[in-house]
């Protein structure tokens, strides 16, 4: 009885894992890179130099900039992504006199000057891709991602049930043993990192919970809007009544930061320069574990505190903290690195699981040289999905440095470069013998990642050597990570090649593994 249950869960684990594994791999890879989203954006906008400045000063400088540039706006907002962000993002709503095509946003560097940087979606693109995908409607994309995440949750639970020796697998990693090695890699990455992987999957679903499960709200609210108004208050500007000077913003930000003991993430100013002006100061995304910000609303003329919003309630706190745990914005230094490494383990878990599917079945094929269509399809999709996205990301970074700095639609072309490279790998996988395709794709990916710091050094004045000399840890860290990733892919390519050309390959092929058995 118990054995039967375990076997049906093993079946469920295999098939949910296979069907959604390719998409999950893409979500895991781009999601993992998002732990360094701000650093990626900083690297992709080399024109912006990070100048450290404290919160009140930066927000005051941004307000002065807005006062000078768009005095007639009905609303200003200034956002900081937190301590790691290189600059500030500004948005405004133009007044009735402004032309319809007048700009409504700008980026400022740390010193409060307008950032004149190349147009790029930066790390934000990779972050958004991991739940919105791209080139398709975000509404349906989120459903597709949600289905994959739920399949993952089911695959995790059924994987736990399938496991006979969960503690032993903690310490078990037999390398160079073909199928056994893939199984160990799959087990070690998932069992050792199980708390993270379970957490990240559940909290990922929670991050978009009301998209997937709006019925909890529908049970208590006839109109969904009422729920969102109560949960995320968003005051709008009142009717203007007559001009009055705007109070200095810095003391308000200072007051708020002292009260919270946390940094500021945004300042919204409604009706600046009017007697009805309000200044709304909110906590930074990295200020606490919960992602739900606290805020204070001040009178924009007198500076009097009008109201304070402090999200409370057990369920809200749980939800906010779950999403916070997922995004890890609060994490600094060591913890962020651990987040990243855990994410990498998640990628290894998904990739090794997908490869294990083919390795296991290859041994049982009637004729290993001429596998049936389903087997070949999975094998090719594995190459395209696992090998293609990393190459696409390397090409994305290269395109950032190689495309002309000026020109409209630049950020879209960077993104297009990623998908062209990724799509190219699928085509390559389809036309080449699988064993060769693995070696070639891994080798090209290694070369592309190794080229990133080289091309960056040739096209900007912020080379790895210059960054190391200046103690610029963001740029140096990015370039060094590229080299590390390149080394990893190079090693995988070398191993795949050795396996394919080794004299024992023919024997191994039939008994245990694919030519890329040890590739990752």
């Amino acid at each position: 009885m118990k054995n039967g249950f375990r076997q049906s869960m093993a079946w469920l684990h295999t098939w949910t894992g296979l069907l959604l594994g390719w998409l999950l791999f893409a979500i895991f890879v781009t999601g993992t890179s998002s732990y360094f989203q701000e650093e990626i954006t900083a690297w992709m906008t080399p024109e912006i130099r990070s100048v450290p400045a404290d919160g009140p000063t930066r927000f005051a400088a941004a307000t002065r900039w807005l006062e000078r540039e768009v005095p007639g706006a009905s609303e200003w907002s200034v956002y900081s992504a937190g301590k790691r962000a290189a600059g500030l993002q500004l948005y405004w709503v133009n007044g009735p006199d402004a032309p319809a095509d007048a700009p409504t946003d700008a980026r400022l560097d740390g010193a409060g000057r307008k950032a004149d940087a190349r147009e790029t979606a930066g790390g934000d693109f990779l972050y958004r891709f991991h739940y919105n995908l791209h080139y398709i409607n975000w509404y349906w994309a989120r459903w597709i991602v949600g289905i994959a995440a739920m399949a993952m949750l089911v695959a995790i639970f059924s994987g736990i049930v399938t496991h006979k020796k969960i503690i032993a697998d903690f310490f078990l990693l037999r390398l160079g043993k073909g199928q056994r090695s893939w199984l160990d890699a799959h087990n070690a990455s998932s069992v050792l990192f199980l708390p993270f992987i379970l957490m990240i999957t559940y909290t990922g679903l929670v991050s978009l919970a009301t998209h997937y499960m709006p019925w909890g709200i529908a049970a208590n609210y006839a109109n969904e809007e009422k729920f969102f108004e109560a949960t995320f208050p968003w005051p709008v500007p009142a009717e203007k009544v007559g001009s009055a000077p705007l109070i200095a913003v810095a003391p308000l930000v200072e007051h708020a930061e002292r009260t919270w003991g946390a940094g500021t993430g945004s300042v919204r100013i409604l009706n600046p320069g009017d007697r009805t002006a309000q200044v709304i100061v909110s906590t930074a995304p990295d200020a606490s574990m919960s992602v739900r910000p606290r805020s204070m609303t001040f009178d924009g003329v007198t500076g009097k505190l009008i109201s304070a919003h402090n999200p409370s309630g057990a369920a809200t706190a749980t939800e906010g903290t779950m999403i916070g745990l997922h995004a890890g914005r609060f994490a600094s230094g060591v913890l962020r690195t651990l987040y990243f490494l855990s994410g990498v383990a998640g990628c290894v878990m998904v990739a090794s699981g997908l490869i294990l599917w083919t390795v296991k079945r290859r041994a049982k094929l009637p004729d290993p040289d001429r596998p049936h269509f389903g087997f070949r399809l999975v094998e090719k999709l594995n190459i395209g999905a696992i090998g293609g996205l990393p190459l696409g990301m390397a090409v994305y970074f290269l395109a950032n440095r190689l495309l002309p700095v000026e020109g409209a639609g630049r950020s879209d072309r960077e993104i297009a470069a990623l998908f062209i490279a990724w799509g190219g790998v699928f085509v390559w996988a389809a036309v080449r013998p699988s064993a060769r395709a693995w070696i070639e794709v891994l080798a090209v990916t290694a070369a592309a990642f190794a080229l990133v710091p080289v091309v960056s050094a040739l096209t900007t004045d912020r080379s790895l050597i210059a960054s190391l000399a200046n103690g610029d840890m963001v740029f140096a860290g990015f370039d060094l990570s590229m080299l590390l990733v390149a080394a990893g892919f190079g090693r995988a390519a070398a191993k795949a090649k050795r396996r394919a050309t080794s004299p024992k390959a023919g024997v191994r092929k039939r008994t245990a593994g694919s030519p890329v058995t040890e590739a990752a």
């Binding site: 039967g4 949750l153 909890g216 049970a219 309630g313």
Partner: protein, 102 residues
């Protein structure tokens, strides 16, 4: 339960399709009805109850999805899920009609 395994490995497609339909669309309907019920019953005000119920819904869905592939009889699986869904939906309807919504 061992019959579930034989069926899954034997690849009886009608049986598998029936389980998949129960595990995904039917499961979603049943989970939605249960989530609404929990949102009506949890204490702490409408907002907290709605959020709390939504947080739990994913565990309910995953649990029911696994059950769909573990139980022996497909007909009993469908009957059980439909019965649960109908009872929960009736309770939802009654509670909303009686207590109203915001």
């Amino acid at each position: 339960m061992s019959r579930a395994v034989d069926i899954l490995h034997g690849g009886r497609w009608r049986d598998i399709a029936a389980r998949v339909l129960a595990a995904v669309p039917l499961n979603y309907a049943v989970t939605s009805a249960l989530t609404m019920l929990i949102a009506r019953l949890l204490p702490g005000g409408a907002q907290q109850a709605s959020v709390g119920a939504t947080l739990m819904s994913f565990l309910i869905f995953a649990g029911l999805a696994m059950t769909a592939f573990a139980v022996r009889s497909v007909s009993r699986l469908w009957a059980g899920l439909i019965a649960t869904g109908v009872i929960a939906a009736l309770a939802d309807w009654y509670l909303i009609a009686w207590g109203g919504r915001l």
